[in-house]
Structure formats: C-alpha cells, structure tokens
Amino acid sequence: MSSPMDTRDAEQPAAPDQVIAASGPGGAIYDIGYRGYAGARLGRAFAVRSLTVLTIRGAFGIGRGARSKIVPFGLLVLLLIPALVSLGLGAVAGGAAQRFDPIGYESYYSITQQILFLFIAAQAPELVGPDQRDHVLPLYFSRPIFRSDYAFAKLVALIGALLLFTLAPQALLFFGRILQAPQFTDGLADNLPSLLPILLSSLFISVLFASVGLAISSLTPRRAYATVAIIGVFIASTAIGGILFEVFRNQADLRRWTPLMSIDSILAGVTSFLFQTPTREMSNPIVRRSDLPGWVYIAAAVVISAVAIAVVFRRYRTVQA
C-alpha cells in the first residue's frame, strides 16, 4: 500500500556528511545524518505474514534464548519416539511386525495427545501473553494493520506450529514405512491411502487445539493462569466425559452424546471417522461404545473451533490498547 504522501522523502534535504570518528588507517565512520525512506511500503498482508513468522519462530524458541527452546524441542523429540520405535520394530521384525504394531497413523494422535496438550499449555500463553503483559499491543495496533489482523496472525501461527507437531511424526512414519517395504511400489500402495486422512486429521486437530488454547491464553496476560486453565480444560474435559459416561449408564440416549464432552474423545472420533476405522477397532472405549456417526465429531470439532476463534477475535477487538 503506497500512498501519495511518500513524496516528502524526495524533497527532504540530506543532512551534510560529517566525520565523527576515524578508526585506523583508511577507515572512518561517517555520520550521514537522518535519511528518509522513499522505498516500497508493503501492505497489511506483508505485515501479517511477518507477525505470523515471528510468532511461529517464538513458539519454537528460535531467535530467543536457549531456554526457550527446551520445551518445544523436548516435546517434539518425545512426539517422534513412538514413530522411531515403530520403525525400529519394523526394521527388526520385518513387514510382519506391522500387523501387531499398536502404533499406526490413526492411533498416533491418541497416543501422543498428551504431548500436544502440554505443547499448547506451555506455548500458547507464550505467544500472546507477553504482548499484553509488556503492553506491546498499542505498538501493534498503531501500525497499519487492523486488530483482527493481529488475532489472525497469532491463530495462524499456532495452527502452523501444531501442524508441524502433528505432521512431523506422521511424515517420519509414512516415509519410513514406504522405504522399509520390500517393494517400494508395494510400500507406496499400502501407505498412500492414509495420506489424505493424515493431512485432514492433523488439520482438524491443529485448528481445534490451537483455537481453544489461544482463546484461553488471549484472555489473560498471566502465563501461569493460562497454562493452568488450558491443562484444566483438556484434562478436566476428558475426566468429565468419562464420568458422565458412567453416570448415564442406564440412559443410553444421553450416554451416546458424552464423548462430545471431552476433547480427547472428539479427537478420537474425528480421526476414526477420517481413517474410516471400523467401530470395533476404535481405541477410545467411549467413542467405540457410543457409536455416534462420525460426522458428529467433525461437526463438534468445527463448532468448538469456531466458538474459540470468535472468542479470540472478540478479545482483540475489545482489549484496551
């Protein structure tokens, strides 16, 4: 977005050159005075992209101190361990192991969901808390962007970070299995059908977790509150879902809906639906026994994400700057 007002730079006289210090033979430092800027001014999209990139880097502690990297990279390593174990088993036992291997594309999400919870609880407050705590928001909002652009950039950044977290081990597993197959073409044929469900599952889960985590984090500048609240929501909802499932033991019509009370059941339901897992093979007992239609989980994930995203945008529309 360049505007006609930039013409001033051309008229502005350059300050006279002035030597302020000489350092060594042939070297000198010149104070060339203040220079205007007549170059390009890119628009909102560029600014939003810059903020997104900075935020994703922040989520992994890149460009920050070494301590900021411990949590994200530690969790990423933890996340990869099941995939490495699975591939290790495959290497030792050959293709036969895959039939008994409990670690698959679909179950990976359920196995590692606690790590995803921890990542959200640790990093989501870190992405938005400091800007409120240190009152940086007025500086952002006095730039040529809208308040919603800020919210959008933060959401995209956290979704991006989670996509990386969910897709990295799946990619390892995917390419590892193809390469381990006796025949490359067989490996490809065996694994390729899982590609679309992997991508969709990661997308749904990343959007759901990121939006809920960010909605909670954006409401408080205090990191500790946000972290506790996020852990509370993720863990308590799982517990509540399990408890209600028992409470409604004799009310089948209510009982079937209890999986929608807990985030981990929704995650399991979404992945089972996307991977078209037969009901009796579902790993989550509540989802298996409720036997809700798969699209209900998708709808639940979409609705919860939408509400959480609305909370984030509303928060940044009204927060004081």
């Binding site: 800027y37 390009a40 600014a47 460009g63 940086v136 500086l139 040529p144 700057a321």
Partner: protein
C-alpha cells in the same frame, strides 16, 4: 494546510469525559501538547491514530478521517506511547526491525532503517542485547526508534521524558528537537511539564479537562506582562513604601519588588518626595499624571526617581513576561506577576530538576 484538524472531538468513558468538544488545527513543526495528567492528552493522540473511536466529533490527520482511514494514518504516523511497551525477550535490533516490517517495510529495508534509527537515538552495541536488560533511558530510546523506523511524516510522542533522570531528560529533549528540525518530521509531543515543552516546541496546544485552553505559537504565551520587577541590593520594604507613597501599586515578592505598569493613577502626584533634579516629564505634569492612566513611561520614571532619591543600589529592573503556567490559571490576563516562584523552574536548566506539574484539571 494543517496536518491535524479536530472538530468538536469528544470522548466519554463511563463516568469521565476525556475530551470535551475539542476543536483545534495543528500545522507542521514541533508542537507541544500540554495539560495536567488526565487532561486528555493521551486520549487525543489515540483517537488521532484511530486506536480509539471518538464518542463524537471529527478528527483528520493528513487529510484522512480517523474513523475510516486509520490504516492510512497509521502508515504515516509514528507513535511512542507513554508507558512501557517493549517486549523483554527480544533485542532492540530484532524488535525495531520487526516493527518496521509491521509498518510495511520490506525485510532488508527494515533492517537498514533499524540500524539507522538506533544509531540516531544513540543505541550502539547494546542494540543486540535483550531489551529486558535495558535501563529506562535505553528503553525510551528504543520506543522512539520504533516510532521512527518507518520514516513517518508525523510523530506522536506521549510523555517521552517520563521516568528519566535529569541527564536522560536532556538527551530525550535534544532528540525530540533534532527529530523535528533535522529530520523534518512534525512532532506532537505531550507533556505535563511546561518547562520541557517550552524548550523544544514552537507551537503549543494547551488542554485542560478535555477542553482546549489555547493553541498558539509559543512566543505568544510568554508575552510581556504589565508588571515591572525590580531588584535592589537592600531590603525592598523602604522602596515599596516610597513607591506606594507616590501612588504606584507596588508590593514585595520574595526579594523582588513588583510594580504594576498599568496602574499609574497618580504617579508622582504632589511629589511627596520631590525629586531634586527631576526630569521634566516626571515633575511638571504632576497633576496630569493621574489622567495618563496606564503610561508605562511615567511609571518607569517614577521608579527611577524613587530609587535615586532613596539612594538604593539597583541590581535589575525588567518587565515581567507571562509564564506558561499562566494558561492554566483562571485569570490569564490579570496579575501575571503574581506567579509563584515556581515559575522560575521553567527557565532553561532548571527544568531538568522535576518542575511542578501544571495546576488545574483532574489528576
């Protein structure tokens, strides 16, 4: 053409009216925005930036409507907020570069401009350290740098000397002056410290309780008053008595003797102490002096003669100027000479030691 125009600009918060039908237009230059804490300075700046919507009225910056064209205004304006606003876990270089990009500068330009402006505000090797380790003075410099990085046409500085020690204030004021003069950027600088404003600004906008008190060039705030201040190397009481005896309105203020120039009703009347070698203008029209009313020359003469008669050693005699603080007094044209000694705090140099905040307005 004015860069900033407001018409009946009003901002009400629940229970508080921050701006009350403020109409002002501001031209290029270094403009001081003065008022007590809570007078509405910060609110005005935020409305102009489009950060806060006004309750009523209209504001234009560079011809753009603050309500509709906030983006365009913000791309051409730099803003330095009053309070802390810096992240602690980034270096100054990284942060200012990022803010340059947020204003639309391409990555390489943002880096170049960052190096430039950080040098201008006086940050050198420290720029690579985390901002969290900075002193208040260094943070203020970073705040100024981030407002300058995109080469704005107008700079809004909200209380830029807040929290700085005397030396830091000096340096910040110098930076403000350079930004306005060398850089050719219009600067709107808000402060509750008149002494600082007086030293860097050419134009003054004074607001109190959300209302415009006065907007005018600085000179016009410090015009001559109708008060003559006299210092004699002695106890001034004898002089006062003699002046009053001559019919002048004289009184003491600390070590000064103050005489009203517009009150010559009866100067040298009858000549209670007739001057021996009286100047003709002083002695002859003795009867007419009452009719001359406010002839300052007659007062000067009478004062001179009185001092000569008493044989007092005269140290200084000068016509008082309005002090900036007078704009916040109810009676602006009245006894400007009554300004309390604190007015002296607004003289250059003295301002570095915390001068008292201006009177008036909710704190």
């Amino acid at each position: 053409m004015p860069l900033i125009v407001t018409r009946d600009l009003t901002k009400r918060y629940p229970g508080v009216t921050a701006l009350d039908a403020l109409s002002v237009s501001i031209e290029a230059g270094i403009v001081g925005l003065v008022g007590a804490n809570g007078a509405g300075k910060s609110t005005l700046l935020k409305i102009l930036l489009g950060l806060v919507p006004p309750t009523g009225g209209h504001a234009e910056v560079l011809g753009f409507d603050s309500r509709r064209d906030g983006l365009r205004i913000r791309s051409a304006v730099g803003y330095m907020p009053e309070h802390d606003c810096l992240p602690s876990d980034l270096s100054a270089t990284d942060f200012v570069t990022h803010m340059g990009r947020m204003s639309g500068l391409p990555a390489s330009s943002a880096r170049e401009r960052t190096a430039d402006v950080l040098r201008h505000v006086g940050l050198y090797e420290e720029r690579y350290r985390l901002i969290g380790t900075y002193s208040t003075g260094m943070k203020q410099r970073v705040k100024l740098a981030q407002a300058l990085v995109h080469d704005p046409r107008i700079l809004f500085l909200d209380e830029p000397t807040n929290g700085l020690d005397p030396a830091g204030r000096e340096e910040m004021l110098d930076l403000v002056r350079r930004t306005g003069t060398e850089f050719g950027i219009t600067v709107i600088v808000s402060s509750h410290l008149l002494g600082e404003i007086e030293r860097v600004c050419g134009y003054l906008v004074a607001i109190d309780a959300g209302r415009l008190l006065r907007a005018a060039p600085l000179d016009s705030f410090t015009e001559l008053t109708d008060t003559l201040a006299i210092d004699v190397e002695d106890d001034g009481d004898r002089l006062i008595a003699a002046l009053v005896a001559r019919g002048l309105r004289a009184r003491g203020e600390g070590s000064h003797v103050l005489v009203r120039l517009d009150s010559a009703d009866g100067v040298a009347l009858g000549g209670a102490v007739p001057p021996p070698s009286a100047d003709p203008s002083g002695a002859t029209p003795s009867g007419a002096a009452a009719g001359t009313g406010g002839d300052p020359a007659a007062v000067y003469d009478a004062v001179r003669d009185t001092i000569a008669d008493l044989g007092l050693p005269l140290v200084r005699m000068e016509q008082r100027r309005h002090s900036l603080e007078d704009i916040f007094r109810d009676d602006m044209s009245g006894d400007a000479g009554d300004a309390d000694p604190a007015a002296g705090a607004m003289m250059p140099g003295a301002a570095a030691t915390t001068p008292p905040p201006v009177a008036g307005g909710p704190a």
